[in-house]
Symmetry: C2
Subunit: 332 residues, 2 copies
């Protein structure tokens, strides 16, 4: 299988390393390896229909800051310049317009390529259109990495729980907020916990996307559309962030053996992000930068999964599971 | 697809109800429904190559205490008396010899039937032989329900995490012990917590299989063999139960913001069941009758899944996921 990787930051490089490290696995399972035939970062590109050396791509990027020697202005022309089967779209996300990532995904689906993406913006904005386009052109659109990094929530619902009637999913979908709230459990005020999260690189200089709940809301939209077959966008979500949570509230919760967590919730009628009281010992009462989600269904009852919501290899692992799913389907 | 259900207690009846409730799902996904062509309980049987009415089977059992009017002495003869594709073996477990369940599974595999089971004993005792027999005869042997009921730990490792190098699995594999330990968290002594678990039906009159750690150890054996490709049996597991845990130990743990949980652990070299200290807020620090397991792998890092470890519909949901997996494979 020939892949094109659009975006060569942390995740793109992680995916490239994973493709190199799993060569034996792919050869054993499919009798073929994965060839990377094209890569682009924000300004340069490199293509080779015979296949590029994955580890060299990463080292060139590290040494020069760029993946290729050639600059480009029209990303879609670069995509068209080489024959590939699957686009791995891992460029930076744009919540407002979908950005270049959205254009890349549409173009790949229009030219009948499978797409794997970790890019939340395009899916939060244009989910229905993208799924319809993929269906029309009989392509796969896979996006495990858009929600909760290493935690296989989407594929779990689509594969293992396919026979269940899923009633709701609620969970901690933003590791930065959970880090801050965990620090507040131990008596730190919000401002100090946020500063610490910024110093550790968990929160950005402008933390509003995380602490105001927008990042969690994007994931709620993706879960609602992909697991519940709804057709919603960000503006349909009722959003409350964590900036209003006081030390007094946390301390009161503690006295009742509870913690406060930012919970995103999708149900038949519900679409919400808000701080909630969670009893200690409950599977959603996890601490630190973890993500967690509880799936309620008619037979299995509540199943909770937790894991790292971000990180180079963690997000690459989600892309790997999507790659395996795409290749399994091609094998049939 | 034609199934034979061996064992018609809580789980067998739950599976039968689930097959009835998913008729539309199976018709939509596979263009066919599942026909139950035979059922036996411990002394009676009923068969019909045209298919039995699932809900009638359950109501007859409830009213008369027996599923069929005919008695049998040789279960294997009954299995041979009707043409079926898949044996669902959900008879009571026997940790020491594997019991009739083991004989049923071997016979079905020898006559080239697929097998789905929730019966721990046969797998804890004869895993290697059963897998080899299934492989030789090109049959499926699926057993999600043997470990942690509704929690899809085995299929998660085999499906979603297939590209990962799994290094270890550790978890709470017995809900009865976890219930007792959760009560002890709140100051109850062991004896009182055990008595309460017995009154609620969580623990049996002879609770040794649970509290001495043997039930957890069976699941450790199944995980070691199925996820780590090892070839071990119950006698290879180092087992310590929870009967020696004192109120003082629990209270000391609490003062350090920890809880004591009975943890089963499988690693490259490890095979152990023992009480462990778990920090509050850790994904394994769940309370009540829940099961939970943490999978460590090279890319995704720790992923923890928790859910109900037992129950009529919960265990039936595990059988349903195995049924879907068997039917998916037949579709290819």
């Amino acid at each position: 299988m020939k892949v094109f990787i659009a975006g060569f930051g942390t995740v793109g490089q992680g995916v490239t390393e994973v493709i190199a490290s799993r060569e034996e696995f792919f050869n054993k399972r499919y009798g073929q390896s994965i060839k990377i035939v094209g890569v682009m970062d924000s300004s340069t590109y490199v293509t080779d229909s015979g296949g590029l050396d994955p580890l060299k791509l990463v080292s060139v990027k590290k040494e020069t800051g760029k993946v290729g020697k050639e600059k480009y202005t029209d990303a879609l022309k670069i995509l068209d310049s080489v024959d590939y089967d699957t686009l791995i779209e891992v460029s930076p996300t744009d919540y407002k317009t979908g950005g270049q990532g959205l254009k890349n995904i549409i173009h790949a689906l229009e030219t009948k390529k499978d797409v794997i993406t970790t890019n939340k913006g395009p899916l939060a904005i244009k989910f229905g259109e993208l799924i319809a386009l993929a269906k029309k052109n009989k392509c796969k659109l896979k996006f495990e990495g858009t929600v909760a990094g290493a935690m296989p929530i989407i594929n779990l619902c689509h594969d293992n729980l396919i026979g269940e009637n899923i009633q709701s999913i609620r969970g901690i979908l933003n590791g930065t907020c959970n880090y801050i709230l965990s620090k507040m459990d131990n008596g730190q005020p919000f401002d100090q916990a946020l500063k610490e999260a910024q110093q550790l690189g968990y929160a950005e200089t402008d933390p509003s996307g995380d602490v105001e709940g927008y990042d969690s809301a994007c994931k709620v939209v993706i879960l609602a559309n992909s697991v519940f077959d709804r057709n919603v966008t960000l503006s349909d979500v009722s959003i409350t962030g964590i900036t209003g949570i006081t030390e007094e509230a946390v301390s009161l919760a503690k006295s009742r053996d509870m913690v406060i967590r930012l919970i995103g919730e999708v149900g038949e009628e519900k679409l919400e992000v808000a701080p909630r009281l969670v009893p200690k010992g409950h599977p959603l009462a996890v601490s630190g930068t973890l993500n967690a989600a509880q799936i309620r269904s008619d037979l299995a009852g509540p199943i909770t999964i937790s894991g790292r919501g971000a990180g180079r290899m963690e997000t690459a692992s989600a892309v790997l599971s999507d790659l395996i799913s795409v290749m399994d389907d091609r094998k049939e």
